[in-house]
Symmetry: C2
Subunit: 301 residues, 2 copies
């Protein structure tokens, strides 16, 4: 109770005071009430199981409903199990799928899933959740901030919103045609945010935990970081949906609500770093530099 | 000759036309004249030799003369040879130095090199080279662009310039006191640019080649990505200065002059991506998303 009172005072101070107060990120996290967190839907929690460990990804069906649905369908039929990481390009992306996808005879069948999906590069702003801006502007988007736990850009002039290519974003690889993606080849951003890809590829999730199992993979030696014939491609053991796992065994995560006062205070704490180490707090922050607070929760929901 | 004429026409068009023309990065590189490149000074080219390969780093003595000089001194006495990578924090930095640095009895002696160096967080703008801005603004600095082949921020109001924490930047680790760094513990940025560190740490170089040998290292499991006692720290076989290597064996690099017309055209080519894949060229670019063209040159200079 004392904590809650302290929280509301601190949050109010941090969010609205003209002179920022020394609230650290650790304090914001310690004081955040239970309502500031939302449980990740087990039907939107994807496990990518590699030899080196498991990558946990939250899907963003509001931004790309067709891609999320198709990925669920592919996962359900075991499409990815035993496939491979095809590409690890330094300071860019790691990408996985079927190494034989272009070979009609040998490509893994996709069952009832479409060969091509219409692009979902952006979405009507009124079809996604509340927008929490970062206050310091953005080089790429008219407005940048957070929607439902995902970094996003927004254009008030067009009424469109889109996920931003921040570190850990999940995208659907495609060829030159905008509708040539199908969620059968996926990538995760593992370098400095390639924001020039925004609105050029369908993004539909972000890594919650374990991104290092992708980002520390050996880089491929061929152009674009593809692995050469001599390099052993890392195996994708399986992709699974958390909702398909027995409740007792099911991993569970909570993400801080990005439209909460706690999250707004968290942004402030990252803009003004008051830890003793900082000689010159920036007083500013870029959307991809806000690591959205994420935590494990109890194994059942 | 035909090439040179084509170049000047294309550069003029790309740099000054209101409607950008479809000049790709590949075309800019193919057409750049020899004067658009500068040889990297062998006295500023550092080799970091790891088990996994060699990282080539160009020092920026204009930004941090004391740190560059001290690093040369440490390298000359073999200070780093046989030391270790101490830390690999995902989406942040890899850091190397003496694991026993804090143990007075066992720390490796630094010879005549200082235990502490005054901070060189920024520099008078008139002591560094010509500034080439990126035209789309910056979240962190009043002005951002390039100086002598290094991404940089600049403040016209104070007359100060500083290197930006882009991917591949080389910094000098320090404790809480601004003068507690000494170039004996070094780090390289291996994740999304942590620009909030700008002007908080002395940056004094950038990786020209081989950054993947740092960025693909296993991540440390302890806080801040430090390796635990159970994890084998990657060995630093040696650090060497190119100028100390026999000319016949010496690696040599060229970097595109960032104050050249070719580089300005290169920036334009990255702002407006005309390759067929792009459905929506951003028309904008952030300083850390411009990968400064760098190439190997003949082995002797």
């Amino acid at each position: 109770m004392r904590h809650l009172l302290a929280l509301s005072l601190l949050l109010a101070t941090a969010a609205y005071a003209e002179v920022p107060k020394p609230l650290t990120s650790a304090e914001v996290l310690a004081l955040a009430p239970v309502e500031a967190w939302r449980a990740v839907d087990p039907d939107a929690l994807v496990l990518l199981e590699l030899e080196s460990g498991t990558v946990y990804i939250e899907l963003a069906p509001d931004f790309a409903p067709k891609h999320a649905e198709q990925l669920r369908g592919l996962i359900a039929q075991g499409y990815f199990d035993g496939l491979a990481v095809l590409r690890s390009q330094d300071n860019y992306v790691a990408q996985w799928g079927d190494p034989l996808a272009d070979d009609v005879a040998q490509a893994r069948p996709r069952g009832e899933q479409a060969e091509r999906l219409a692009a979902e590069f952006d979405q009507a702003s009124d079809k996604v959740g509340a927008f929490t801006p970062v206050p310091d502007g953005d080089v790429y988007a008219p407005e940048a901030g957070f929607i439902d736990g995902f970094p996003a850009g927004r254009d008030p002039a067009t009424g469109r919103s889109w996920m931003a290519h921040c570190y850990g974003a999940l995208g659907a690889g495609r060829d030159n045609a905008p509708d040539s993606g199908s969620a059968a080849q996926l990538y995760v951003v593992t370098g400095h945010a390639p924001r020039h890809l925004d609105r050029n590829v369908t993004l539909f999730g972000r890594v919650l935990e374990g991104v290092e199992h992708l980002s520390s993979l050996p880089r491929g030696s061929a152009p674009l970081g593809f692995y050469t014939a001599e390099q052993a491609r890392p195996t994708v053991r399986a992709m699974r949906l958390a909702s398909a796992i027995e409740p007792a065994e099911r991993p569970a995560f909570e993400v801080m609500r990005t439209d909460s006062d706690s999250f707004r205070a968290f942004i402030e704490s990252r803009r003004f770093r008051h830890e003793p180490w900082f000689a010159h707090p920036a007083g500013r922050i870029e959307v991809c530099n806000v690591a959205i607070p994420t935590r494990r929760s109890s194994a059942t929901d």
